[in-house]
Symmetry: C2
DNA sequence: ACTCAATGTTGTACTGTACAACCATTAGTG
DNA sequence: CACTAATGGTTGTACAGTACAACATTGAGT
């Protein structure tokens, strides 16, 4: 092994820098595009839609966020009428969270316009390049350290 | 063009989701790894090192941050002894920012340990895959919307 | 010389987040 | 069964990061 691992450090440096750059911008960028739904809210709502409802604890575990953070986020989403809490009849500690109709609608709008933005941004890419890039990202994120599953 | 642009939407959806997931985690992840230097501080210090010193306004423009944000960030970095402000003799409005010795040292430490982390995370990747992934990320970020150059 | 632009700092406010203390409820054990 | 422990959630508090607007200082252009 050479000093920089046989030239692997070049690409690694770039990957590090570019992922970091992206991360630094993403929140603000998302906020500019969708002032009505932050990146965090968007992902929480998406998760709710994917799962067809889940508990606050599940969200906390999935996103590695504190339960208090989730509690307040969900509180805000509820106040905005995007989410509703249903008491679980079997376990009265639990509130099952569901998208409201309004939440579903807003999520759909934002999802669509995000898709359009990504489509535009990736417009010049060939099909195979898109597929490889997607695959690389999956692989990269799958290797996330302990407890950072998404 | 079919409804979903000839199957391009699959990968696009994945790219969107995975980039977003990464962005959501990056800050907290960086903070866990390096409690002594936030992701933002790290990038500011890096920029200073790259450029060999620059003005607060340059940082603000480069990172699309408000000048007040930069002012306070730099203030904190200065208080921590990582950065020093030198009055520009030609223009007394300007402070040229430079890494201190301590700043250089800390930056080096964090940079190294980040490199190690990324190396580990990408350990199973082939050379060509690393290169392609790096290339894709560059290309992707180069296509960032207006004013989001890094 | 006067006005205008550029550089920064400070006051204020909001979001996202964590941690710790707490309440309510359920589960496990002697 | 009764008590203790674990689980689910909320609330108090604190901090980082950020923006916007008002301001002070300094330099530039007519």
């Amino acid at each position: 092994m050479t000093e920089n691992e046989s030239g692997r450090d070049g690409p690694i440096e770039i990957i590090q820098r570019e992922m970091t750059a992206f991360a630094r911008r993403a929140r603000a960028s998302a906020a500019r595009m969708h002032p009505e739904l932050s990146l965090v809210s968007f992902t929480l709502l998406s998760h709710l839609e994917d799962r067809g409802g889940c508990r606050a604890t599940d969200l906390a575990a999935y996103y590695t966020l504190d339960k208090s953070t989730i509690s307040r986020q969900v509180g805000a989403l509820e106040k905005a009428g995007l989410v509703e809490r249903r008491l679980d009849p079997d376990d009265h500690r639990v509130q099952v969270l569901h998208l409201t109709e309004r939440g579903t609608g807003l999520l759909k709008g934002v999802t669509d316009s995000r898709r359009v933005a990504f489509r535009e941004r990736l417009a010049g890419w060939s099909g195979p390049d898109l597929e490889r890039f997607a695959e690389y990202l999956l692989r990269y994120n799958a290797g996330a350290p302990e407890g950072e599953v998404s």
